[in-house]
Point group: C2
Chain length 228, copies 2
DNA sequence: ACAATAAATTAGGATAACCTAAAATACATA
DNA sequence: TATGTATTTTAGGTTATCCTAATTTATTGT
């Protein structure tokens, strides 16, 4: 009944949250991969979280894990911290786009409720993070977000970049150089089926942009339906 | 040779630093008191720190501990983080005087060098903390600070408040209400030897102030020599 | 359907930090 | 100086998190 929450537990819950926003359950191996620990460590932790009081996730052997409402609350709180912190590090302390993730990853577990509140206020209660992802509200409600990857668009489709993966500084620097950032509008000009490269015409840019599969699979977009 | 530094180690080093700025060595019991752990835990940790490579402190059984230059570096770095963070929480996030300590106590261990650098710049490289203590420079040099307690002054002596103890919110709120903050000039009007109360005339204030021993023993002052 | 492979779990250990209780040492004073 | 008290250390245990190696379970291709 002593609700002790460790940083590590929060990381596991956040990871399960992210995985299960794509599929039904998070497998041991997948969690282990994302967290960079051995599968055996995941089994152990997942069992602990499942038999916590209240249980933070549901787990059956060899079937993977998914969050309980209580586990989800914690995941969302951590995510809110993370995204507020990223924005804060950029806006107030002058961190660059690609630098914020690493620091936020640590701070998210240690800031107080009050810190969260102050930061949110200073930033004007933002609804989206620096990489375009929605920030859970104070009440931990998550606004909807497109689930379409740029990867899946085909020629003549138009769209807006909504968010990009935040944890790879090199990738982020690359996107910044190409000026492919949240809010950017584009049209797909060509798709090369052999190497899965997409050629984009970007609003406001002269030069066409080519993006490979490993990039387009990390970018979420919203499709703009043709009006004509 | 793997220089792994834990938060706990930093706390022990900081504590030894503070104790040895007053006396020669820090005893097991004193460290245990300040950190709120059992003496046995201190013995263990102190032994570990003394046999680290390089040793972070010097320790002989039953004799207490004192820092090596390497240990002092770490203590000063932590102290710099702490004091920069306190100021930052106040100036940028709007924390009050008495709220900053607790949050800084945790954050001091987890912020990066870069965070430290950014905060220092945003604050304009301050030399003193919010409670008046000197902030170690980037090169970890500590500027001198008076070591005279208000406690030791006697009638007609004049002085300036230099710094006050930072870790007791109630005490800090009390001082703020009395407007006894760093920089405040005063003269001792009377001393009551039975209860050790000091009566102060404070510059710019109508009402005289009475301070008991447990307060005056937590306030560092600089004496202003009489010019006449 | 069943063997080969892949994934997950159990078993057994390690480390950091803490604790309590018992033993050893230091100190203070009659 | 001798002894009682206070302090410190040692011994032995606990918890959280991680690991590797061995074992078990699941999946998949023929």
């Amino acid at each position: 009944m002593v609700k002790k929450r460790t940083d590590t537990m929060e990381d596991y819950l956040k990871t399960v949250y992210k995985i299960t926003s794509q599929k039904d359950r998070a497998s041991t191996g997948e969690i282990a991969d994302k967290l960079g620990v051995a599968p055996a460590s995941v089994t152990e932790m997942v069992q602990r979280l499942a038999s916590a009081d209240p249980p933070l996730l549901v787990y059956r052997k060899h079937q993977g894990a998914s969050l309980t409402p209580e586990g989800e609350q914690i995941a969302l709180e951590t995510l809110r911290h993370h995204r507020l912190l990223e924005l804060f590090l950029h806006e107030i302390l002058g961190y660059s786009w690609d630098q914020v993730h690493e620091e936020a990853e640590i701070l998210e577990h240690v800031i107080s409720e009050y810190f969260e509140e102050r930061v949110a206020e200073v930033l004007g209660d933002p609804g989206q993070g620096i990489h375009g992802e929605p920030i859970p509200s104070r009440a931990l409600e998550m606004s909807s977000h497109p689930e379409i990857y740029l990867h899946d668009l085909r020629p003549t489709q138009r769209g807006v970049i909504r968010s990009v993966r935040d944890d790879d500084p090199g990738f982020l620097r690359y996107l910044l150089k190409l000026r492919v950032t949240p809010g950017t509008k584009f049209q797909v000009r060509e798709f090369s089926p052999y190497d899965h490269i997409l050629y984009l015409i970007v609003e406001g840019q002269e030069e066409e942009i080519a993006l490979g599969e490993s990039a387009t699979a990390q970018i979420l977009v919203e499709i703009i339906e043709d009006a004509d």
